[in-house]
């Protein structure tokens, strides 16, 4: 019952998105949509996925959307085409075809559905004995479907590089002394309150008014980082793993950049270091595979990494989760810094 009501909230949010002209509200509604989806997944028993969606969809995606709105300097759509007849016809026909397709599907939650009768029982029954990892999602992700995850990690790496290629060069934030640029000095004159279009609301001075935000942020950043490490290390036993940990780790830096300005955050995590770690994660992942080959196994076969196959599996899973975490964290931070580091004034 609760999943039907959550789905209804999602339908209402999505319909609202069609009508909204204010793009700021579009971004916010998209965040609400993602968060509702995350709650739905907790109800459906997919806790790892819910965890990821809550941190990615409601966190990083919203920040990126706001940053790109600041960069394109648009707040409103020119016109909304709420009713667009050809599009409506296409959508209705497609929807009808899809619903026709579901008529042959087994009922929702049916334990005898084909999806539950082939490989899934094997994972549920044997994965603990074979890998020593109680979280089946982690063991399938990192070990049984290791090739797939290697591909996904490479896609994230490629996307990070793609954003760097598109926006990273030529429009970089003017490099200055980070402390001066952040306007943090108490003796400095505050920036004019009317200065428009600051992509990062941290660099316009006014230390006195920011005190509450900065103290609150400083109190929050260490627990966020600690939680990221916990998520990374605890991924075998409970919900969590490299993907979530990377995103949470990056969000601590994003919070720091929002409060203290991008130059300050870049001083903590310089672009050159991030570019290195972006590649390092994929390298660790692929390197574990090579190590397996050198020790006489197949590529990404972790059983040969230690004397005991189960220990080898555990070691391999921990190592590749570390690689995933490093790449995801660096990719998210790189993307955010590239977006937020742009100077909106320079666009015109």
């Amino acid at each position: 019952m609760i999943n039907i009501s959550l789905l209804m909230i999602m339908v209402a949010t999505a319909l609202g998105l069609v009508w909204l002209r204010n793009l700021l509200a579009v971004v916010m509604f998209s965040g609400i949509f993602s968060l509702t989806a995350a709650s739905l997944w907790v109800v459906l028993g997919a806790v790892d996925v819910a965890f990821t969606e809550a941190s990615v969809g409601a966190g990083i995606a919203t920040v990126l959307g706001l940053a790109s709105l600041a960069l394109t300097r648009t707040e409103h759509e020119k016109r909304t085409r709420v009713f667009h007849l050809p599009a409506l016809i296409v959508v209705l026909v497609t929807g009808a075809a899809l619903i026709y397709g579901t008529l042959d599907m087994p009922g929702w939650g049916d334990p005898d559905a084909p999806i539950h009768t082939h490989v899934a029982p094997r994972y549920i029954e044997d994965s603990l004995a074979e890998t020593g990892v109680p979280n089946i999602v982690t063991s399938v992700l990192a070990s049984y479907r290791g090739f797939d995850t290697l591909g996904e990690t490479t896609v994230i790496f490629t996307a990070g590089v793609g954003v760097l290629v598109l926006l990273g060069r030529g429009r970089r934030y003017p490099v200055a002394n980070p402390r001066v640029a952040a306007g943090g000095g108490p003796g400095r004159a505050p920036a004019a309150p009317g200065s428009e279009g600051a992509a990062v609301p941290g660099d316009s001075g006014e230390m006195r008014f920011k005190a509450i935000l900065r103290v609150g942020g400083k109190l929050l950043i260490p627990p966020i980082l600690l939680f990221a490490f916990y998520t990374q290390a605890h991924g075998e036993l409970g919900p969590g793993g490299g993907f979530q940990a990377g995103v949470i780790f990056a969000s601590a830096f994003i919070l720091y950049a929002l409060l203290f300005g991008v130059p300050m955050a870049r001083a903590v995590a310089p672009a050159s270091v991030l570019r290195g770690t972006l590649a390092l994660g994929v390298l660790i992942y692929a390197g574990v595979g090579i190590a397996g080959v050198l020790l006489g196994g197949n590529y990404l076969d972790y059983s040969v990494l230690a004397h005991d196959p189960v220990h080898g599996q555990e070691l391999g899973i921990i190592l590749i989760e570390l690689g995933v975490g490093i790449t995801v964290a660096s990719a998210m931070m790189t993307v955010f810094f590239v977006f937020a580091g742009q100077d909106p004034q320079q666009v015109d």
Binding site: G65, T72, K78, G107
Partner: protein
């Protein structure tokens, strides 16, 4: 047919179609990308719904539980979410570059400008 039956899937399809409608009918590129996000999340919901087992708990092995939710859709979607946000970042970066080049992020204005050039 008992109540949940296929009803869940139908709502999810309605969600997908709303996202699809935003992508093809709206002119603003940022709104198109967020419509695509709606579409994408709906597909994820569809996968996760298929993995649900009646009475199953989260797929983390613990003594005292026998029925678990199917872990495979979780694995597929977990990676897809992070890949989705990474590709969305590339899309938004492209929008920013388009704004630089054409001074607009409305598709009909861009098409008109392109027509002037050629």
């Amino acid at each position: 047919m008992d109540f949940p039956g296929l009803f869940n899937y139908w709502i999810v399809i309605a969600l997908m179609m709303i996202g699809f409608y935003i992508v093809i009918s709206q002119g603003n590129l940022v709104k198109k990308i967020f419509g695509l996000n709606i579409f994408q999340v709906s597909v994820f919901v569809f996968y996760i719904s298929m993995g649900k087992v009646e009475g199953g708990t989260a797929p983390i092995l613990a003594p005292g539980f026998a029925t678990y939710t199917n872990p495979i859709p979780s694995v597929l979607i977990l990676t897809a979410i992070v890949v989705g946000v990474a590709t969305m970042a590339v899309g938004l970066a492209l929008v920013v570059r388009i704004r630089d080049a054409f001074g607009s992020i409305e598709d009909d204005e861009i098409a008109k400008l392109e027509g002037d050039v050629t």
